[in-house]
Amino acid sequence: MTELRSLLGDTVTRLFTDLATKELIEAAEKGTWPDKLWRALEEGGLTLPLVPEDAGGAGGTWLDAHVVVRASGRHQAPVPLAETIVAGWLLSRAGLAVPFGPMTLAPVHADERLTLARSAGAVTVSGRATRVPWGRHAEHVVAVSELDGRLTVALIARGAATIEEERNLALEPRDTLVFRDARVVAFGAADVPADAIYLYGAMARAAQMAGALDSCLTQAVRYATERKQFGKPIGNFQAIQQSLAVLAGHVAASGIAAESAFRAAERNDARFEIAVAKVRVGEAAGVGAGIAHQTHGAIGFTYEHSLHFATRRLWSWRAEFGSENAWARQLGRAVAARGADALWSDLTAR
């Protein structure tokens, strides 16, 4: 592990442990923007791990970013940290300056488009993007679209959009943003995939889910050793041990699937690994949340208990930036196109 990575890991864990408390998450669910947490993340240099140092970032790799994104899921931090990290990377790829403040990505759906156009010496954006994460709180929106026949990254002020507020199961803002010939703040051509937001957004969600699954396992194991029934901790019963072992297997699979996607992103085209991660971690999210709840019994089903901060996120995140089915079809089509006899050699070449 590199020095930067362990530094980021230590910093982010300490910061979330201190600040991303139950009270803070509950307040965020009621609509309060956790300004103190966000400022601490910025001051700790955690929001822009992929932005070069001379542009105000940490100058790290995707594997460095992975540590931060995973931790944000493990602690269910109610801020657009993953979105800001991907947005910062896109801006850097386009040679654009990266602003302070939380950012988000749009559109997040594969079938939605924001249109860039030249108009009176400026570049404008038009279109409607639904379910934009943290739309109302983000200071800027980063979009990828075509301009003059080239893929272009555009930085747009949130104020340029009209916003319809919505939310996901975890009460995280998922807003509809509508742009009508709004001027973009900055833009630049970039060598990224046309669906870069969808792609890297899916990768980020996979790592966040892996983190949330870690949290489910930790909570379930702790509860099983503390909660007594029939005169002993419920974790002494084989039925509980066996199902927690299944959960642990899913947690292990999720962790390595997500991390290997980030490693691939650092090296080359990561589409295969990202699809693998989104599908595999999404499946783990369903099974894992179920086992964590079953272990906790009725108390885990209350708002008072903290388990639902992880599980409600898992239930929403697995469908964001493309469902498991959509990613599985994309992956399956690629595998089918290569044919049965290429499967093993393709797999070992990754």
């Binding site: 066996q242 399956g332 049965a340």
Partner: protein, 384 residues
Amino acid sequence: MPATFRFALNDLPPEAEGLRAEVREFLKKEFSGAAPVKRAKSWGGFDREFSRRVGARGWIGMTWPKTYGGHERSFLERYVVMEEMLAAGAPVSAHWVADRQSGPLLLRFGTEEQRQRILPGIVRGELAFAIGMSEPDSGSDLASIRTRATKTEGGYLVNGTKVWTSNAHLSDYAISLFRTQVVPDKKHEGLTQFLVDLRNTKGITIRPIIDLAGKHHFNEVNFTDAFVPDEARVGNDGDGWKQVTTELGFERSGPERYLSSIALIRELVREVSAKPDDRGTEAVGRMVASLATLRQMSTSVAGMLQAGEPVNLEAAAVKDVGTTFEQSIPELAHALLDVEPTLDSGSDLQQVLGYITQTAPSFSLRGGTREILRGIIARGLGLR
């Protein structure tokens, strides 16, 4: 929690990847044109001639010291050879057990004389090993075994019965666990391992146990006053439990416990490739997502082995997740296709499905049942 499982990403080094091409070339020559159903049998295949050719290439005992004929190569190179063999469905049974666990056990606990006498033959692919652990009343509860080895002049007299002894009828030796002492209320004590010569020991009777598909690989091995000399004892009298758990660690640490259904996976991809509709590609995508993830977990364990780290917990997780995956593949075939599994008629897909369907129950039994593995994981979680 990540403190429990490590599973660090691991890259296979260039020399291991270079070796992959050689192994593929070799396997292509060996099996080009072989029917998919034959290749589905990988673990089931026992072919001494094939094992000799593998030995001649230097692919058995790869990590062992040169003193004993080994090749002093890395665990990661060995890993590449194994995963290629299994992915290709090579018949590895005649050398795999010895390469994976019997040889390493002798290296760790055997006498110098045993190592010099046995290991070079294993490396050449000439000595095949069976595993003498389970008994009629001792399966998962291995420490309850009752086969007695009673001390006598120059050796031990063995009485009792081993079961599920795969390929005992074809093998040269079986590392066997016997009870040399009965210590009341302490079943883990008084156990000792022996290197039993299956071909030249009087008093051993090997009888077939036919599996549900009518095939003979299991055996019942009966010992009646079978004389096993002192030189055949592996390790100290009474150290058997410690040694056998180490051996099971070798057996389970095999990072390949997820490839048993690879032949069926290939046939399913072939079907979907011919008609890539949404339903088929979605199913293939989910299957490949699991397969690719298991391979990452598996190479991670290989990296830990190379680094000399303990892998029991991670290996148990790979095997548990891996066998669940392997067993899901026939189910997937039924969910996706209108296909009847067959024995020896019909398409390649039908025959492979027939073979895998009937073999699949064993995936989560051999080398430690699913329940035992999950118990190991639960212990790692601090629940036991």
